[in-house]
């Protein structure tokens, strides 16, 4: 298995990073947070056309670039660093992975090409964002008629297409419906992390199209893929917080010296670096496991748990080490802090993933 990034991958990272550095500044992030849509259409179009992020991992047969989890991770990591606000995670990651792992071939051919170029904004509707085992309790389909509520759906307020996991008599199935169809209602929620817009989506006898059968294996696999991308986003954010915090401690003077010269602060920064390095290694490893097809589930849960805990810790330390300025609205640290929290609970808390790890180990040994 690959243990380092190739030159091509590093160059790709450079391209993504440079783009986001220009287009996803803290100022623009704040604008997006305050806006209803939550993203800048032009920037999204450029990201898709110039950088091609939306189709990174989608096979060429379905209109994408055919790269793997490693390259997709590179995109997500940079997005996490720059706190990119847009439909990348909901459409390119969540919905596309559900289609790739679950949908029948004709639906893939039909739906993925437009998602791969960012033309269609899709989102994945799950009635639980906690664990795959809890999916399928609220959304029920009978005779292609869907009813029930998904409490939290990412970017549903701007999505064109809903990709839904729901329970039918024959078991869980994958369904689609277009936004604005009859029987679909979307309520945008106010949540702490406005960099990631979340809605409640209710269905009342909405006519859906069945495009695949969901078994626990394909749902788990989808879940793992999403978690690993999310973990990349989180380590990118943690890395950003670590770097900016170190910079701050070098510039801020108290007691006639930079506060970064105090051992009490230095030691905490060293501990934080250790945790960030470990979470990064575990996350990169998880992407490689997915691409190599070995030990993916365990590696994905480990990456999600470690990245989430590390991101939160970095966010807490970033505020504390900045002192008063750290918890003001004006200071940008709060933006990452809030993203850290929403990422921590999205797709399973660290505790849920740790439990999943131990269950797997228990069965193995």
């Amino acid at each position: 298995m690959q243990t380092e990034f190739t030159e091509d991958q590093e160059q790709f990272r450079e391209v993504v990073a440079r783009f986001l550095q220009d287009k996803s500044t803290p100022l623009s992030v704040r604008e997006m947070m305050a806006s209803e849509a939550g993203y800048d259409k032009d920037v999204w179009r450029q990201l898709c056309e110039e950088v091609g992020v939306a189709g990174t991992h989608i096979p060429e047969a379905f209109g994408g670039f055919g790269f793997g989890s490693i390259e997709l991770g590179v995109v997500a990591e940079e997005m996490g660093k720059h706190l990119y606000c847009g439909p990348f995670f909901s459409s390119s990651v969540m919905a596309a992975y559900a289609l790739l792992n679950i949908a029948n071939d004709s639906s893939k051919v039909k739906l993925l090409p437009d998602i791969a170029v960012g033309k269609t904004l899709a989102t994945l509707v799950l009635d639980s964002l906690n664990s795959p085992e809890a999916v399928g309790r609220q959304l029920v389909v009978a005779n292609n008629s869907l009813s029930g509520t998904a409490a939290m759906v990412l970017d549903a307020h701007v999505a064109d297409l809903f990709v839904i996991v729901a329970r039918a008599e024959t078991g869980l199935g994958l369904y689609t419906i277009h936004a604005g169809a009859e029987g679909v209602s979307v309520d945008l929620l106010e949540t702490i992390d406005q960099t990631r817009k979340v809605s409640r989506v209710s269905f009342k006898n909405a006519t859906v199209e069945r495009i695949g059968h969901v078994n626990s294996e394909s749902l788990d696999r989808t879940w793992d893929h999403i978690c690993v991308v999310l973990a990349h986003e989180m380590i990118g954010g943690a890395q950003h917080l670590l770097e900016t915090t170190i910079d701050y401690t070098k510039l801020r003077y108290q007691f006639g010296r930079p506060i970064g010269s105090f051992q009490g602060l230095k030691h905490r920064c060293a501990d934080l670096l250790m945790e960030v390095e470990i979470a990064k290694a575990a996350t990169h490893h998880a992407a490689r496991c997915l691409d190599a097809g070995e030990g993916e589930a365990y590696a994905a849960s480990m990456a999600k748990a470690l990245a989430a805990d590390t991101y939160m810790k970095a966010a807490r330390e970033a505020i504390q080490l900045r002192g008063g300025i750290g918890f003001t609205w004006e200071e940008d640290t709060q933006l990452w802090f809030k993203r850290a929290k929403s990422s921590e609970v999205l797709m399973g808390t660290p505790a849920i993933h740790r439990e999943r790890m131990i269950s797997m180990m228990e069965q193995q040994s």
């Binding site: 929620l189 106010e190 702490i192 406005q194 504390q320 008063g324 750290g326 918890f327 609205w329 505790a351």
Partner: protein
Amino acid sequence: MADLQAFREETKSWLAENCPKGARGPGEVHTGSTKVTVSADTQAWMEMMAEKGWTVPMWEKEYGGAGLSIAQTQVLFEEMSAIDARPPLVNMGTRMLGPTLLEFGTEDQKKRHLNLIARGGAAWCQGYSEPGAGSDLAGLNTRAVASGDEFIINGQKIWTSGAQNADWMFCLVRTDPDVPKHQGISFVLLPMDQPGVTVRPISLISGSSPFCETFLDNAVAERRDLVGQLNEGWSIGKRLLQHERSGQGGLGPSAARSRPVGVSVDLGVAEVGLSYVGVTDGKISDPALRDEVVQWKMQDAAFKATQRRAGAESQNAKAPGEATSIFKLVGSTLAQDKQELIVKLMGNSGTGWEGAAFSKDEIGATRSWLASKAVTIYGGTNEVQANIIAKRVLGLPD
């Protein structure tokens, strides 16, 4: 002992008779501000208590108190809490400036300011931190120049909580920039309602603005409102901080109910756990979360027991000592941990900001969680407290 029992009976019946319904249970507390309107019951309760000197029961009568002993004060607080009476008046005057003036103020200062504080006639704010002087408070830069009977003050203060509603500010200013930093600081009192004082609220990550920036542009303090000697304000300022820290740690009934700044909803961790995680056999369903709840509750109980013990031990001492830093450090950490735990217990419901999808408590919990990030910073960061503890309590070398 018999006297004390008589005092208890007397107090009990007076309280039963006079404490209005609207001053019992959770609710607003009078801050003494002339700029804030409170409910009739809150106002009446404060006035009646002030009449008896019970807003500041231990202060001497001539300064607006009742001259009660520690034991009597304890009885008063116990009886108040028995009927769930709220503190009649809580502000920086009663908790911080008052005790400091009692120790260092001139007779004139005590007469003027303490009486005003005791009868709820002025709210105070604290002009300490500056943008460039936070943890290193003694590095402050706000200049005060003596001119006749006045000091002319120029500079900027930050984190002045409640400044927008305050009537007065106690302020640390630099009166001599040419000597080592601790030796050129003075402690002055100045009115907020004057042209040279501008207050601007600071928005926090929780969306609320309990703190302000205060700009001093040729602001004026009277010479007679210099507390202590010129250039000797540092030790007075520090003493006041000890009163602040002991208050934040929650000594005495006035602080017992006071929450960290910005923490709007005070939910119980066990209750949140039971209602959000679920109940199995009368216990929080998830054993790992249950374990975390119990760990927090144990810490909290141990902390409160320690506070009580310290309170009993310090009854003979006149003012709180450096050990108050321990209460600040532990108390603020526990408060922060609590909010963190509550949001965790709520899961996805703990990420609400506004809107009908989340309950009032849920949104309150989220905001309190964000606000609680400040408690380990304001009033001296945990790092500064740890330094003080290491140096002053443990006697470790610099």
